[in-house]
C-alpha cells in the first residue's frame, strides 16, 4: 500500500455495534463485497473493511471497524469507538431483545465518541417480515427521540445497505461543510487527504477496495 497521492479526498472512520447475531458483519460484507454471506462466522474482537464511495461529489474512503457483539468483547472493542465519525448501531427486527439492548449500546457510543459522531440506527433482517418483532414506527420514534438517523435494511437482499453507509456519510460531510465538525480537532474521525492532481485517473464510482471484509 503506497502513501499519497490518494484517489479520495477524505477518510471517515465508522464503527458497527450491536448485539450478537444481528448481522453486523453481514452488513459490512454486503457493503464492501456486494454479496450476502450465508455462513457468516462470528466476529472475534474486531474486523476491518474499507470502501471508497462518492458523497456529494467527493470521493470518501470509509474505514469500518466491525465489532464483536458478545458482551465479554466490549472490554476490547470499546477502544475502537474513539475517534469514530460515524456509528452504525444495529438490531435485529425479528428479535426484540436486540432492540431492548440499544440504550446500552447508545450509552457506550455517546460516552466513547465525540458529540459530532453521527449515529445511524439500523433495523437489520428487514426481509424477514413474517417474523417481525419490532415495528418500524416504534424504532423510528426511538431514533427521533435520541437524535439518530434510522433505516431498516437487509444484509441478505442488500436493501438499504448502501443507503445506510451513505446517509451517515452525507451527514458527516454536511457537518464538515457547515463547520460543526472541526477537521483539526483530534479524534474527529475524519482525515482530509490531498486529491490526485486532475488527470482523469479517478476510479469509477463506488469501486470496492481490494482489502474488503474477508470474513
Amino acid at each position: 500500500m503506497t502513501a499519497a497521492p490518494y484517489n479520495y479526498s477524505y477518510i471517515f472512520k465508522y464503527i458497527i455495534i450491536g448485539d450478537m447475531g444481528v448481522g453486523k458483519s453481514c452488513l459490512l460484507h454486503q457493503f464492501t463485497e456486494k454479496k450476502f454471506m450465508a455462513d457468516c462466522p462470528h466476529t472475534i474482537g474486531v474486523e476491518f473493511g474499507t470502501r471508497i464511495m462518492e458523497v456529494n461529489g467527493q470521493k470518501v474512503k470509509l474505514q469500518i471497524w466491525d465489532t464483536a457483539g458478545q458482551e465479554r468483547f466490549r472490554a476490547v472493542t470499546r477502544s475502537y469507538y474513539r475517534g469514530a465519525a460515524g456509528a452504525l448501531m444495529v438490531y435485529d427486527i425479528t428479535r426484540r431483545s436486540t432492540y431492548n439492548h440499544l440504550s446500552s449500546w447508545l450509552t457506550d457510543a455517546r460516552n466513547l465518541t465525540n458529540p459530532n459522531t453521527v449515529i445511524i440506527l439500523i433495523g437489520n433482517k428487514a426481509d424477514l417480515e413474517a417474523q417481525r418483532d419490532v415495528t418500524y414506527e416504534e424504532a423510528k420514534q426511538f431514533a427521533e427521540e435520541n437524535g439518530l438517523l434510522f433505516l431498516e435494511a437487509s444484509a441478505k437482499t442488500g436493501e438499504n445497505v448502501e443507503e445506510a453507509f451513505l446517509e451517515a456519510a452525507k451527514r458527516i460531510y454536511q457537518n464538515i461543510q457547515d463547520g460543526s465538525l472541526d477537521l483539526n480537532a483530534a479524534e474527529s474521525g475524519v482525515q482530509h487527504k490531498p486529491s490526485v492532481p486532475q488527470g482523469g485517473r479517478l476510479n469509477s464510482d463506488t469501486q470496492p477496495a481490494k482489502e474488503g471484509c474477508s470474513c
Partner: protein
C-alpha cells in the same frame, strides 16, 4: 457452520452441529466455573472433526481447565494479559519492528482470534489447523503467542512497507496469509520460547504470570501427563470400543512407545511433543477410518 468440510451433505452437517453443541454444553455443565466465549466452538469443532464426540469431550474438558482456562473467565482481563506477552517478545527480537508497531498504535487485538481459537478461526486449511493443534497440545499455554510473534516477524518487510497507521497495520496483520511455512514457524516459535521463556518476559515487561491460571496450572498438567503412557488413552478407548486392529494404523503407536523413553529422560517437552503427536496421529487414523466409510473419497480429499 463454515468450519465443516465443504460438500458435506446437509443431514450430516446437522448431526455434527448437534454434536458440537452437545460437547460444549457437556464440558460447560461439568465445569460451572467456565464461561463460553465466541471462539470456543472453533476449538471444539476442530477436536470433534478429528476424534469424534466422546474423545472430543475429554480433550475439551482438559484443555478448558488448562490451556484455555484464562479465556473462560467471565471477563477478558486474563485474555488481555496473555496478549500482553506479544510485544515484549517482538521487542527482544526486532526492536525496530516493535517500535514501528507501537508507533502505529495497532495494539494486539489482531492476534486475539489466533490466541483463543488456536488459529482455528483464521486458517482455511484443516491440515494446517491440525498441525498447529498438535504443536500447542504438546506445548506451554503461551506458545500460541510465541507463534503469533514469529508470524509477525516473518512478515516484517510487509509490515514495514505499510503506512504506519493503526487501521492499515491491523488490516495487514489480521489477515493471515494462507501459505505460511508452518513447519519453519513452529521451529522458530519453539526457539523463541526457549530463548525468551515466559518468566524472563514477565520480569522484563512487568507482566505478572501469577495471575494466569493457564500458566500456573501448567506444571501440574505436565506432571499428570508424565504418568500417562503415550498411548494409554487410545489403548483404553480401543479396549472399551473393541475396535478392530485394521483401524488402528499399525506402526503408529509402536514408534511412539519406543521413542518416548529414549527421548524423555531430562526433556519433558520432547516427551510431551511425542505424546501429543502420537495421540493425534492415532486419532487421525481413527477419524480417517470412520469418515472413509461415511463420506466417500471426495470429501476426504478436501479434509486432508
Amino acid at each position: 457452520m463454515k468450519r465443516f468440510p465443504k460438500g458435506m451433505p446437509a443431514s450430516q452437517r446437522a448431526v455434527l452441529q448437534e454434536q458440537l453443541t452437545d460437547i460444549m454444553l457437556e464440558v460447560l455443565r461439568r465445569n460451572p466455573q467456565l464461561h463460553y466465549y465466541q471462539g470456543y466452538h472453533d476449538v471444539a469443532v476442530s477436536l470433534l472433526l478429528l476424534v469424534g464426540e466422546r474423545t472430543a469431550i475429554a480433550m475439551l474438558h482438559t484443555l478448558s481447565n488448562h490451556h484455555l482456562r484464562d479465556f473462560m473467565d467471565p471477563t477478558m482481563d486474563r485474555t488481555k494479559h496473555i496478549l500482553n506477552y506479544l510485544m515484549p517478545i517482538l521487542e527482544q527480537v526486532d526492536r525496530e519492528l516493535h517500535d514501528f508497531l507501537i508507533r502505529s498504535e495497532v495494539g494486539t487485538i489482531f492476534a486475539l482470534s489466533w490466541l483463543i481459537t488456536w488459529y482455528g478461526h483464521v486458517l482455511s486449511e484443516f491440515r494446517h489447523t491440525l498441525r498447529l493443534y498438535d504443536f500447542f497440545l504438546a506445548s506451554h499455554p503461551l506458545m500460541p503467542i510465541y507463534l503469533a510473534a514469529t508470524i509477525v516477524l516473518h512478515r516484517e518487510k510487509e509490515v514495514r512497507r505499510t503506512e504506519c497507521d493503526m487501521a492499515m497495520v491491523h488490516l495487514l496483520l489480521s489477515r493471515i496469509p494462507q501459505d505460511l511455512p508452518y513447519e519453519l514457524l513452529i521451529g522458530q516459535a519453539q526457539a523463541l520460547f526457549d530463548r525468551y521463556p515466559p518468566p524472563l518476559l514477565a520480569k522484563r515487561a512487568a507482566l505478572q504470570s501469577r495471575t494466569s491460571l493457564s500458566i500456573s496450572t501448567f506444571q501440574s498438567f505436565q506432571r499428570s501427563t508424565l504418568h500417562q503412557r503415550p498411548d494409554s488413552v487410545l489403548r483404553r478407548i480401543t479396549r472399551e470400543g473393541g475396535c478392530s486392529a485394521s483401524r488402528r494404523g499399525p506402526g503408529e503407536w509402536a514408534v511412539a512407545s519406543t521413542e518416548a523413553p529414549a527421548l524423555g529422560r531430562g526433556n519433558r517437552m520432547v516427551k510431551m511433543a511425542v505424546w501429543g503427536l502420537s495421540a493425534t496421529l492415532g486419532a487421525a487414523v481413527f477419524a480417517v477410518a470412520q469418515t472413509a466409510m461415511q463420506w466417500g473419497p471426495d470429501v476426504l480429499l478436501q479434509l486432508f
